[in-house]
């Protein structure tokens, strides 16, 4: 088998009659950037279509009025193009409750995801670069806790928070969002790779305090990892449904996800007004910020993820 393949590899080169030196360099180049394959591209495109088609459906249907939604073909535009009308109707419905939900979501994301990232960066740095008593214990507990289903925690957390008077306040959503074991793991592996231990020792020799070493030397090195963790915790808090569902009763504190679900469920209730066009337009508005963030910050989170997977 081996000979057959090396003969095959040689054949095109021989046909071109290239000198051996050039042939070797050409082959080397090939190893790094292999020939593109149309077949493989087409097969993979099936998954691409699967991923994008529902989003296309969503965007197309955000341009339709409620009657068009029911009367026209799903994957093409309706008789009227009312995207702008739908957006206006979405933000104005029920005295602008959608904007209130948007504001709540931003609040939960800034404090929840921001706080979670901060804690994960500090903790990951400690796990990667310090020896401290109980370190093994910390590690075992955190890893073990990842396997505990979130819903196993939900009921007792709800009961605890309700005794503390925190339910139905933003804190009930923010505080549990502050812990991201995945973020901690990612920062731990990232910090282990990104910060040379000699650099820390040099800073200590120079007499910099631990805090100053961390802020001035380590934080810049950790930037790609921080962006990665921030993006993933942002997605987790922006998309959070279960936690606010349990903790919040007052629609004024709902995040977008709960609000959209409430709008959708409204059609099923007796006498409720069906507002599917607003549900769909609201959905587009909900996913837009995250998609934009992921597209613009590609470079950062991809290098952060790659470094995170160095260690197993």
């Amino acid at each position: 088998m081996a000979t057959a393949e090396s003969v095959q590899a040689l054949r095109p080169a021989r046909r071109r009659g290239a000198p051996s030196g050039l042939r070797a360099s050409k082959k080397n180049h090939d190893a790094r950037a292999p020939r593109k394959s149309k077949t493989l591209t087409l097969v993979t495109a099936i998954v691409l279509v699967y991923a994008l088609l529902p989003l296309a459906w969503l965007v197309i249907n955000a341009t339709k009025t409620q009657p068009d939604l029911l009367g026209s073909f799903g994957l093409w535009f309706g008789d009227s193009f009312s995207l702008w009308d739908n957006i206006v109707a979405t933000v104005q419905y029920d005295d602008g409750i959608f904007l209130r939900w948007l504001g709540n979501t931003v609040l939960y994301v800034v404090l929840g995801a921001g706080g979670a990232t901060l804690l994960a960066v500090l903790g990951g740095y400690a796990l990667a670069k310090f020896r401290f008593p109980g370190k093994r214990w910390v590690f075992a507990v955190v890893i073990g806790a990842v396997a505990v289903p979130g819903t196993a925690l939900a009921v007792p957390t709800f009961l605890m928070f309700s005794k503390m008077g925190l339910t139905n306040t933003p804190w009930a959503v923010i505080i549990p969002s502050l812990i991201s074991p995945f973020g901690l793991y990612l920062m731990w592996t990232f910090a282990a790779e990104a910060i040379p231990t000699e650099l820390l020792e040099a800073a200590r020799v120079d007499g910099a305090s631990e805090l100053r070493t961390f802020v001035q030397i380590c934080l810049p090195l950790l930037a790609p990892g921080i962006v990665t963790v921030l993006l993933f915790t942002m997605v987790a808090t922006w998309n959070n449904y279960f936690l606010p569902l349990i903790m919040l009763k007052d629609p004024a504190w709902y995040p977008l996800t709960l609000g959209l679900n409430a709008w959708n469920a409204q059609a099923a209730t007796a006498g409720g007004e069906a507002i599917f066009n607003l549900v769909i337009t609201g959905s587009v508005l909900t996913i837009l910020p995250l998609i934009v963030a992921f597209l613009f910050l590609q470079r950062y989170w991809q290098s952060g993820l790659a470094a995170g997977s160095v260690k197993e």
Partner: protein, 307 residues
């Protein structure tokens, strides 16, 4: 900080040896905040949950200690077992399909043979950024026989495709939503792991004349075993925790999705519609234990193959 800045070289070395002799508490200064919040939102609820599961609310006299009675009740509860079997079926069918597709796409991307690789990678990943609520509503509408795509197809071709939201098909429909949401995420995990395989391994394989498939089998798959194990564990946890999708679809398919469709939905209904907090905590603990045991076994098997 200021004190040291003024100090000459010799005291600086003293500080260094000092820090080395007790590096301990400095580390806690950094991990401490995480652990405090962790104790509040993870450890305390787990402890409270165990406490709850050992009691039962009586009609008179409030809570009374019942030992493991709640657990025996749950283990003989047909509703619990029905929901458990449903997520177990979901696990053995949906997870391999999703991870299989993710792995194939990651390998295709990594082979460097695709036109427009970056476009593929970012597009297939995008659904991960879509909230479960939006994903479920969107697919739920598309599934609809009235104004969804299924309805469109039936109208256009005069076919009568079955309703994806009927009781027989709803689990498969949920599997499709979950696959759509997470196939790109898993693809990215695999792809990131493939990217860091040392190029020298490929060069060696090329010298040995190994073909594409052999490189995949002998080099790529073993190199990303860690990522495969982690993705499998996360997917198992996700399957056992299945809640969002059926809970949201319930408003579109009220007849197909029961209040005990998944163990989590059952625990939720017990708590928030039935006020049976103790029994609900018991169901959640049993699911937590099963999840942990299975995740642990997968991890052990994954590691053993590595040795």
């Amino acid at each position: 900080m200021t004190e040291v800045a003024a100090a000459p070289v010799v005291p600086a070395t003293t500080t260094r040896t000092l820090r080395r002799s007790r590096p301990s508490w400095v580390g806690w200064g950094f991990i401490g905040p995480f652990m405090i919040v962790f104790a509040l939102v993870f450890l305390a609820p787990i402890a409270y949950s165990i406490y709850l599961s050992l009691f039962r609310k009586q009609l008179v006299g409030g809570n009374s200690f019942v030992g493991l009675e709640n657990f025996t009740t749950a283990l003989t509860d047909p509703k619990f077992w029905e929901s458990f079997e449903r997520v177990a079926l979901f696990l053995v069918v949906q997870v391999p399909i999703m991870l299989g597709i993710a792995l194939l796409v990651a390998l295709a991307l990594d082979s460097g043979r695709l036109y427009g690789r970056n476009f593929f990678r970012i597009s297939i990943f995008l659904p991960y950024a879509v909230p479960a609520v939006v994903a479920t509503l969107m697919w739920g509408f598309m599934y609809g026989t009235r104004f969804g795509l299924i309805g469109n197809i039936n109208d256009a071709f005069g076919t009568s495709l079955p309703n994806p939201l009927s009781p027989d098909l709803v689990l498969a429909s949920i599997g499709n939503i979950v696959t759509w949401e997470f196939v790109g995420y898993n693809m990215l995990i695999f792809y990131s792991a493939l990217r860091v395989v040392p190029a020298t391994l490929y060069e060696a394989a090329e010298i040995d004349g190994a073909g594409q498939w052999r490189v995949i089998r002998a080099i790529k798959l073993p190199a990303i075993r860690g990522a495969l194990v982690i993705a499998t564990i996360f997917s198992i946890i996700g399957s056992f925790q299945l809640f969002n999708e059926p809970s949201i679809l319930k408003s579109l398919a009220p007849n197909a999705i029961t209040t005990y469709f998944t163990p989590n939905l059952y625990a939720y209904s017990l708590s928030f519609s039935g006020q049976q907090y103790n029994y609900s905590a018991t169901v959640a603990i049993i699911m937590g234990l099963i999840t942990m045991v299975i995740a642990y076994v997968v991890q052990l098997r994954g590691m053993r193959k590595e040795a």
